[in-house]
Every structure is written in structure tokens, then in C-alpha cells.
Amino acid sequence: MKYLNDTTVMKRMKSRLTMNKVWKTIFLLATLLALLTLVILLVRIVSQGAAHLSLDFFNNFGSRFPEKAGIKAALIGSIYLMLIIAPVSMILGIGTAIYLEEYAKKNKFTDFIRMNISNLAGVPSIVFGLLGLTIFVRMLYLGKSLLAAGFTMSLLILPVIIVASQEAIRAVPKDQREASYGMGATKWQTIVRVVLPAAIPGILTGSILALSRAVGETAPLVVLGIPVILQFLPDGLLSQFTTLPLQLYDWAKRPQEEFQYVAAAGIIVLMVLLVIMNSIAIFIRNKFSKRY
């Protein structure tokens, strides 16, 4: 007795194929909707802000007059902030990931730590702002400085970097480590010569994406009390500063309509910065990734 004869198969064939098409269309629509929103947003911002983009816009500080308002302090501030966050968060984050994956023994305590790091990645950024305010601004007397904000933002993205680096390190095949140990290499030599070179694309991709999150972040800076408009550039680690998202927030909430165009121009600058960073991440991933 055959269960799957021609009639049973053909009876269901049509509805199976229809279902296949229906789901394909649903997924396509979901993608298109997301793309459409993005396109509308981009078109609106570019059409509003492009006219305001000029050399003066990059050379001027903030101002009460929209035609004189520029982004210099905010752009430089954001870049300086990044220069602090990148080394602090990457050294701590990658170091932690290496320790947890390569050195730490597997027991309940380290499992607990691992789980909590993943949880920390989901903590709202404003909570990190409050933490930074308490520890760096008040307890360590760093004030509303580049350093205080840099440390706070580093803490914010640290869990993301740790988790991404752990994944990258874990993805290095076991037989690669065995090959190295089998020739009498120490753990350190194996990490430096085998594990890290293979994991570096994943680590850098994760780190750069985390960094771009930090660059676009506003809430913790508001809590720290970072000023939105400054008429000077930061001149040291303890100097005051402002950042692009803060400056944008200030422009966008002003009543004069012209400031909306200034804000749009600022958004273009911020987006270009983020696109550059993400492109670097993609470039690194493609250039250095190795197949096993």
C-alpha cells in the first residue's frame, strides 16, 4: 500500500505552493516597509539640511542665530570622546573576553559573571549615565569633563564589546588551539599567535559597532550635565565639551524654524560619521576574515 500516491500529492500541491508565495510576499513587504521609512527619512533630512552644509557650518561654533550656527565644537567633541572611549573600552573589553574564554575555569561563579555581562548589555543607557554621574563626576571629581563622559560611555559599551569578543574567540576552532599547544606553545603564545589573529575580525567589527552606538548616544551625557552649546574647543582631558547628538537635540527643540534646517545639516554630518565607522567595520570583517 502506497501512502503518497499521485492524487494525494497533487491535491495538496496547489495550496502548498500558494502558501510558499504568501510567506515570501509577507517577508518582502516587511523589508520594503523598513527600506521605505529609511528612504523617506533620508530624503527629508538631505533636502532640508543640504543647503545649510557649507565650510562655515564646520567652522562655526553654536550660536543664537541659525545662519551663524555651526557644528565645530560638537564634531570635534564627538571625535575626542571617541578617542577616549575606543582605547578604554577595547582594552578592558577584549581583555575581559580573553580572560573569560581562555583562562577562567568553568564553574558556577564564572557562569554567573558571564550571564551578568550579557544582562548588562541590555541595561538602559540612562542607568549608566547615573552611574557615571555618581562615580566619575562626583566621587572622582572629574566634573563634566571629556574624561568623565569617556569613562561613562566606555562602561556603557563594555558589555557589548565583551560579548562580541567572546563570541569571536569562541568561534576559533578547537583544533587550532590544539595544534599550537601540541607544539609546546604556552597559553599566551597560543592566544597571541593563533586565537587573536583568527578572532580579530569579529572583535573589531563588534567593537566598532559598539563605538558607533556610543557616538550616537545622548541620554547618559544629559544625565552627566554635559553642556549643549560651547564656544570653545576642549583643550584637555578635563576640559568641558559637547557632542553631535547633544547639539542636534538642542537645535531640534528650538522654536525658530530655521534651526530645523541646521539640525538636519547636523544629522547629515552625524550619519556620515556613522556610515564611515560602519564601513570600516565591514571592510575589516571582509579583509581579515579567514575561513576554516
Binding site: 590544539e178 599547544y181 575561513r291
Partner: protein, 282 residues
């Protein structure tokens, strides 16, 4: 330098001691020295008693094959010989494994030193995603050799030793992953030769290879035994019969029989050995 010399004379003393100790015990008395002398060795993975009271005397410049059905502990045993088995965190051991007269299970025996003398070739070819040259030079480099001329020499010597020099000499800077599986495995053997080991452990080195590559590796093993002691785990009994001088048959974590290969395959003492080699189980 002086330290090294002392160490070497120490080792020699140990060698003499161990060989004299065992001259009386083995029937097929040879004047060959022991490389690995295992006494009452036990190993547990957690609660699982994987190796039970292993006693084996493995001689130098011989090919010793370890055969047995899956899960009999043969891979575990070979990995105990360079303490690779310690990478599994729940492993416990007792007993003795003496390498050239020194117990490698002693906490004072640095595992890095042991693995420099006891190289390993793995089941699946595992070259690094680096150039062929860098793969071979990896071992010498981690032991501190930086001189380009010396490295060049080691690379050529090792690749020749692994009978793959002619195939790769024009593309030493290409990624080792571009090679075929059989070539990769011989690169791994060359990489192992580059640390100039005393013993080479091979954990089913041909199980992932096609018949022709397998043949090449087998021929290579025959050539290598003049200068190295080789311990090879294999699933393939014909392979054991073809290439080894001694064969140990493992079953359920115990050594059932250990003798000259021709003896094992012609007139085994134990019924279980005969059942296994005649294909009645396993």
C-alpha cells in the same frame, strides 16, 4: 646552555635506569630503550573510568599501533602521553607515565617542555590559516628562533622530511588551506617535525584522507621511524598490520594484548583480540 646540558645528562641517567629496570621483564628482549613506560595508569572523565590500569612499554624507533573499537580509550591514551587530555577540565589521573625515565604526570614536569619533545598529528588536518612557510615555522618561532636563514633551513628540512617539499616548494607563501586534505595532513606532519621531536603521536592521521593520500602518509610513517618513535592510533587494522612493529589492542579502557604486530595478527593470545581482528565485533 649549561643548564640544558645538565638536563640532558640527567635524562640519560634516567634512560639507563629505566632500560635496565625493564630488561628482565620483557620477553621479546631488545636492546632498544623505552620512550614511554606506562605503569598502572588510570584516567577518569568525571565518573567515567576511561583507562584502567594501563601498563605499556613503548620502545624507541618503532612504530607502535594502538587499535580497538570506538570508545575503547585509545585516543584518550595517546592524548595522555603529551597531556593534551588535560584540556578537558574534568579529567583525573593516577599512576605513572614515564617519558625517558621521568614521570610526566609530576606537577614539576612542564607540559610545554613535554610537548616540544612529543609532537602530535591530529585526526583532522589542522593547519593554521597562514602561509605554508609560517605553518612550518610556527614551532621553531614559539621556541624563540628568529633567524631567517635558520628558519628557511628548518622549513625545507621539515617539508622534505614529510615528503611534500617538491609539491609545495614553489608556493611556500600561499595559504595552507589551498592544499588538498592529504597535503594538509602532510603539512601538519612537517609542522610537527619542525620542532624536532623525539616521539610523534598520531591520532588516526588518515581517517579523513582518501586512499592515495593515506598510502603516502603510511609510507611516510615507515620512513620516519628511523629517526623518531611513532605511536599511531588507528581504526584501520590493515593499516596497523602494514605499518607497525608493535600493536596494542585496547578494549573498554584496558590493554587486552600488546605484542609484536605480526604476532598479534597471526597468533593472538587473547580470544577477544582474535575476535576483533577477524572482524567479529568493533
Amino acid at each position: 646552555m649549561v643548564e640544558l646540558k645538565n638536563k640532558m645528562t640527567n635524562n640519560e641517567n634516567h634512560i639507563n635506569k629505566s632500560s635496565s629496570q625493564f630488561a628482565g621483564e620483557t620477553n621479546n628482549a631488545t636492546d632498544k630503550n623505552s620512550v614511554f613506560l606506562t605503569k598502572n595508569f588510570n584516567l577518569w572523565y568525571g565518573d567515567h573510568h576511561a583507562l584502567k590500569d594501563i601498563n605499556l612499554d613503548i620502545k624507541e624507533n618503532e612504530v607502535t599501533a594502538i587499535i580497538g573499537p570506538s570508545g575503547c580509550g585509545k585516543s584518550t591514551y595517546i592524548k595522555a602521553l603529551n597531556r593534551m587530555v588535560e584540556l578537558v577540565p574534568i579529567v583525573k589521573t593516577n599512576g605513572e607515565i614515564n617519558y625517558r625515565g621521568r614521570n610526566i604526570l609530576d606537577s614539576s614536569y612542564e607540559v610545554e617542555e613535554l610537548r616540544t619533545r612529543v609532537g602530535m598529528v591530529f585526526q583532522k588536518p589542522n593547519p593554521f590559516p597562514k602561509s605554508i612557510y609560517d605553518n612550518i615555522a610556527y614551532g621553531p618561532r614559539i621556541h624563540g628562533i628568529k633567524n631567517k636563514k635558520i628558519l628557511d633551513e628548518i622549513v625545507e628540512k621539515s617539508l622534505r622530511g614529510a615528503a611534500i617539499w617538491d609539491e609545495v616548494k614553489d608556493r611556500l607563501n600561499q595559504n595552507a588551506y589551498g592544499l588538498s586534505g592529504g597535503q594538509q595532513q602532510r603539512i601538519c606532519i612537517a609542522r610537527c617535525l619542525a620542532i624536532e621531536p623525539d616521539v610523534i603521536l598520531m591520532d588516526e592521521p588518515t581517517s579523513a584522507l582518501d586512499p592515495i593520500s593515506t598510502l603516502k602518509v603510511e609510507e611516510l610513517v615507515q620512513e620516519l621511524k628511523d629517526n623518531y618513535s611513532i605511536i599511531i592510533v588507528t581504526h584501520n587494522m590493515q593499516q596497523a598490520a602494514r605499518i607497525s612493529d608493535k600493536t596494542a589492542f585496547f578494549l573498554n579502557g584496558e590493554v587486552v594484548e600488546f605484542d609484536n604486530t605480526d604476532k598479534i595478527f597471526s597468533t593472538p593470545r587473547d580470544q577477544r583480540t582474535e575476535d576483533y581482528i577477524s572482524g567479529r565485533f568493533g
